[in-house]
C-alpha cells in the first residue's frame, strides 16, 4: 500500500533522510520510531508533497507521489499532525474545517458527510458550529482526524498524533484510531518518539537514527527483544 524506495531528502546541504526504503502492506499499521532529527517526520511530509528536494520513489496505493497531482493524491492519503492547536484554522468552525477538503474537491453531499464524520469520531452534531478554541486538545485531534478522513483515503499518515495530549486523552485517541482502522480498512504509517505507543499500535516498526533506517522489527520481535541494534535497546530502556 505504501512503498518507499531509496528515498533521500535534502534541506540545503543537510541530508534529512538518507536512502530509506520501507514497505507497508494494505491494512497494516507501521511505525517509525526515533528521536528528533532522525528523519521520521520528513518521510511522511515527503509522501504528501510537503518537501521538494528529494530523490527516490514513493508510491501510495499504486500512485506515484511525485507525479500524481495533489488533488488526486489527496484522495488516497491524508496526514494528521502532532499539534491540533496548530493544524486547525482558528477562524474556521469545526464543520467548515471538516468540509474544506470536500469543498476543494467539489464533492456533492458535503453537509451529510460532515455529520457522518462527526459521528465517526465520536462528537455530536452540535460541534459543527464550534471554533477550535472552544474545544479540548483531544476534541481538536478528533476533528483533525475527521478532516483527514473526509475524502475517504485508504492511508493515514500520523505524525506524533498523541504527543501533545494528556495520557488519559491519548488512550482515547489511540482507541479511536484502532477502531477506525478496523472499520474503514485503513493503512497507517505512524511516527512517534514513544516506543510504547508504537508497540501498542503497530504490527511492524522501523527504528531510525540520524536520518537513516536502523532496523525493521515486528511487534513480536520487539517484545521478545530480538533486535540487533544497540540503539533500539537504548530507546527501549528510555521508554
Amino acid at each position: 500500500m505504501i512503498d518507499v524506495r531509496n528515498v533521500t531528502v535534502r534541506f540545503g546541504d543537510a541530508v534529512a533522510v538518507a536512502d530509506v526504503s520501507l514497505h507497508v502492506r494494505p491494512g497494516e499499521s507501521f511505525g517509525l520510531v526515533g528521536e528528533s532529527g532522525s528523519g521520521k517526520s520528513t518521510i511522511l511530509r515527503t509522501a504528501v508533497g510537503l518537501t521538494s528536494d528529494w530523490s527516490g520513489e514513493i508510491t501510495i496505493d499504486g500512485y506515484d507521489a511525485k507525479s500524481t497531482p495533489t488533488r488526486e493524491l489527496a484522495q488516497r492519503v491524508q496526514m494528521v499532525f502532532q499539534d491540533p492547536y496548530a493544524s486547525l484554522h482558528p477562524r474556521f468552525t469545526v464543520g467548515r474545517a471538516i468540509a474544506e477538503p470536500m469543498r476543494i474537491q467539489k464533492m456533492a453531499g458535503i453537509e451529510e458527510r460532515v455529520d457522518e464524520l462527526l459521528r465517526l469520531i465520536g462528537l455530536d452534531a452540535s460541534f459543527r458550529s464550534r471554533y477550535p478554541h472552544e474545544l479540548s486538545g483531544g476534541q481538536r485531534q478528533r476533528v483533525a482526524i475527521a478532516r483527514a478522513l473526509a475524502l475517504q483515503p485508504k492511508v493515514l499518515l500520523l505524525d506524533e498524533p498523541t504527543s501533545a495530549l494528556d495520557v488519559s486523552v491519548q488512550a482515547e485517541i489511540l482507541n479511536l484510531l484502532e477502531d477506525l482502522r478496523a472499520e474503514l480498512d485503513l493503512t497507517f504509517l505512524i511516527v512517534s518518539h514513544n516506543l510504547a505507543v508504537i508497540s501498542h499500535m503497530c504490527d511492524r516498526l522501523m527504528v531510525m537514527q540520524d536520518s537513516r533506517a536502523v532496523e525493521v522489527l515486528t511487534r513480536e520481535q520487539l517484545r521478545a527483544r530480538e533486535f540487533s541494534s544497540p540503539y533500539t535497546r537504548k530507546l527501549l530502556e528510555a521508554a
Binding site: S36, G137, D166, V167, V169, A171, A196
Partner: protein
C-alpha cells in the same frame, strides 16, 4: 527533613475572572515539604503549574490568589514586599521551565546569562570570579567543553544541553528551593534520564528542596521521594513515590492503567472514567 518545613502551603486558591464569573483553577491546595524531592503530577488544567507559580510569586497579573498560609523557610510570603519577593527569587528560589529555547535569552551568550544570574544573586562577586564559577557549574552539569558552551548562543546548543545550562544557571546560586516544571518534556527520551540525573545530583549535593512538576507519572516516581496527585485544582492523594502501584484513588489508578507500554496487552487501552465526585469529595 528539618523540623520546620521548607515550604508550607495551606488552602491555596487561584481564580480567574471570566465573563460568566470567576473560575477557580486551584481550589484549596495544602501541602508541606522539606529538603526532599517532591513530585506534583497532574494532567493539563490540574493546577500544578499555577501552584508552583504562586509559590514563586510569578502568577499572571489577572489571577486572584487567596491562601491561609504560604511560607518559605519561615518567611510569610503573603506579607513580604514585591522587592523582597524578587530578592527571594534571585537568591533562594529557582525555577526551570519546560523548554530552554524559551527560557534562555536568545541574544545573550550562555555564559553571560549564567554570570548575570550569579551577580544578581550576589552583586559582590566580581565578574572574573563569577565567570570561573559559571564554568565550574557548567562542568558540574556534565557539559564536557564548558569553555565552548560558555561562548555559545542558546540556538547553538541542543535541547538537552540547553536544559543543562538552565540547571546550571539555577543551582549556581545554591537556592534552597528549586522548582522544575516539566523540565524534560521537550527533550528526546534518551536525553531525559540524563538531564534528570544531573538535576537530581545537583539538588542532592547542595541539599536543596526539589519540586518536580510533571504529567509523567513514571518519570516522577523514578526521581522523587513523594508524589502529590492533583486533579481539577485539588490534591487527590499523596504517596511515597515507590508505592504508586498501591495508589488508592481511582484517578491515579486510571492514569497508570491508561498508559500503553512496550509489552502491554494488545487491544483497547483502558479509558479513564472521570467521576464528578472527584471534584468535590
Amino acid at each position: 527533613m528539618s523540623a520546620a518545613p521548607l515550604v508550607s502551603i495551606e488552602n491555596l486558591r487561584i481564580a480567574f475572572e471570566r465573563d460568566a464569573g470567576p473560575v477557580e483553577a486551584v481550589r484549596g491546595v495544602s501541602f508541606e515539604f522539606g529538603r526532599e524531592r517532591l513530585g506534583i503530577v497532574g494532567e493539563s488544567g490540574s493546577g500544578k503549574s499555577l501552584t508552583a507559580r504562586a509559590l514563586m510569586g510569578v502568577l499572571p497579573g489577572h489571577a486572584r490568589l487567596s491562601v491561609d498560609r504560604m511560607e518559605f523557610d519561615g518567611i510569610d510570603l503573603t506579607r513580604v514586599s514585591t522587592r523582597t519577593r524578587r530578592k527571594l527569587r534571585g537568591e533562594r528560589m529557582g525555577m526551570i521551565l519546560q523548554d530552554p529555547k524559551f527560557s534562555l535569552n536568545p541574544v545573550l551568550r550562555v555564559g553571560t546569562q549564567i554570570v548575570e544570574s550569579i551577580r544578581i544573586g550576589d552583586p559582590r562577586v566580581s565578574r572574573r570570579a563569577a565567570r570561573l564559577k559559571a564554568l565550574e557549574t557548567l562542568e558540574a552539569v556534565q557539559i564536557r567543553n564548558p569553555e565552548r558552551v560558555f561562548k555559545q548562543y542558546p540556538h547553538e546548543v541542543s535541547g538537552g544541553m540547553g536544559q543543562r545550562v538552565m540547571i546550571a544557571m539555577m543551582v549556581v546560586r545554591q537556592p534552597a528551593l528549586l522548582i522544575a516544571d516539566e523540565p524534560t518534556s521537550a527533550l528526546d527520551v534518551t536525553v531525559q534520564d540524563q538531564v534528570m540525573s544531573i538535576l537530581d545530583e545537583a539538588v542532592g549535593e547542595r541539599g536543596m528542596g526539589l519540586m518536580l512538576i510533571s504529567h509523567d507519572l513514571r518519570l516522577v516516581s523514578r526521581f522523587c521521594d513523594r508524589v502529590i496527585i492533583m486533579y481539577a485544582g485539588r490534591v487527590l492523594e499523596t504517596l511515597p513515590a515507590g508505592k504508586l502501584a498501591e495508589a488508592q484513588h481511582p484517578y491515579t489508578r486510571g492514569l497508570i492503567a491508561c498508559m500503553p507500554s512496550v509489552d502491554g496487552p494488545p487491544g483497547r487501552l483502558p479509558v479513564l472514567r472521570r467521576d464528578p465526585e472527584w471534584l468535590t469529595s
